[in-house]
């Protein structure tokens, strides 16, 4: 299945929980905020929210800013 992560297409071999995807990407779940299809997924739901075919995922972390 195809998803987009931070604007880049990625092929996954099937649906999975968001928490598992972050793990596979070696991203510390505590250090990011995630939106799927323009909806915020709260951290407590990372392990229950399923990533599906066609999902647009934004994974954001703290950066400098004015």
């Amino acid at each position: 299945m195809e998803v987009r992560i931070n604007g880049n297409s990625q092929t996954l071999n099937g649906p999975r929980p968001l928490g598992q995807l972050l793990n596979e990407l070696k991203i510390d779940a505590k250090g990011v905020a995630v939106a799927v299809n323009l909806e915020v997924v709260v951290r407590s739901k990372f392990d229950s929210h399923e990533i599906k075919d066609g999902d647009e995922i934004e994974i954001l972390s703290p950066q400098v800013g004015g």
């Binding site: 604007g7 905020a33 994974i59 950066q63």
Partner: protein
């Protein structure tokens, strides 16, 4: 004892909010924050550059006694800004949000309509909104009525360093909106710009480029901190009214050679 003041449910000593962008290195940023004595810093959410860079910045933040004010920089619509604010709340565990909805890419002027729409929604959603706005009185009044208890009018466009270009308009804002926190944000270039804002009765200033782009950002952070304290002290001391004509400061009584 140092004066304290309240904003967004917090009590602060410093009236200096410092932006964290554009510094030449993380270490310079850290030193500048320390020298600034700022208790509020702004930051953003972005797609991760590298996990190491994000982790370093996040780790540095944990070592500093500052309140985080995440921004919605780069958002061009209310929808984008609202989503970014909600993501910021989730990531930083704060209800504070510096709300930016930009209407023009060249001069980064706020989009007043998108800003008001986003502020209304976010205030309703329990955020403490710090809207980056213009000096337009009507827009600022509408933001207040939407629930904003803090307003951040610009001095001049972001990053220009032009200072306060419309002094009387800012003075009018301060006079007409005495009950809200007013923080001048954007366009300040030199410490005297910040001192002026405090002398005019504004509650604080937010500065980024003037510090980060200085030849010595750490020294400049210290300069701004000093200027902000001087401006506030001058305001509290009661600045004299300017006059159209000269008034001698030396007593005229007893002037020698009076009748020559």
């Amino acid at each position: 004892m140092k004066e304290t003041w309240k904003i967004g449910g917090k009590e602060l000593t410093s009236r200096f909010f410092l932006g964290t962008a554009r510094f030449p290195s993380l270490e310079t940023l850290r030193e500048a924050i320390v020298e600034s004595r700022a208790e509020v810093i702004t930051l953003s959410l972005r797609r991760e550059k590298t996990p190491q860079q994000s982790a370093s910045f996040a780790e540095m933040l944990k070592t500093l006694p500052v309140h985080l004010l995440p921004n919605t920089a780069g958002c061009r619509s209310a929808k984008e800004a609202i989503l970014t604010a909600r993501l910021a709340r989730e990531l930083f565990q704060t209800a504070w949000i510096k709300l930016e909805v930009i209407g023009d890419e060249q001069n980064l002027i706020p989009d007043p309509f998108g800003l008001l729409e986003a502020a209304t929604e976010l205030c309703r959603d329990g955020f403490e909104v710090f809207p980056f706005t213009t000096d337009d009185l009507i827009l600022n009044e509408r933001l207040m009525h939407a629930g904003c208890k803090i307003l951040m009018p610009w001095a001049s466009p972001i990053g220009t360093g032009r200072g306060v270009t419309r002094r009387e308009t800012l003075v009018n804002l301060r006079t007409r909106l005495p009950e809200v926190n007013l923080i001048v944000d954007a366009g300040l270039g030199r410490p005297s710009d910040a001192a002026l804002c405090l002398e005019l009765g504004f509650d604080g200033v937010l500065v980024n480029t003037a510090v980060s782009d200085a030849a010595d950002p750490v020294k400049m952070a210290q300069a701004f901190a000093t200027a902000i304290e001087a401006g506030r002290l001058g305001y509290l001391a009661g600045i004299m009214e300017s006059r159209a004509f000269a008034v001698p400061s030396t007593p005229t009584l007893g002037t020698p050679f009076w009748n020559l």
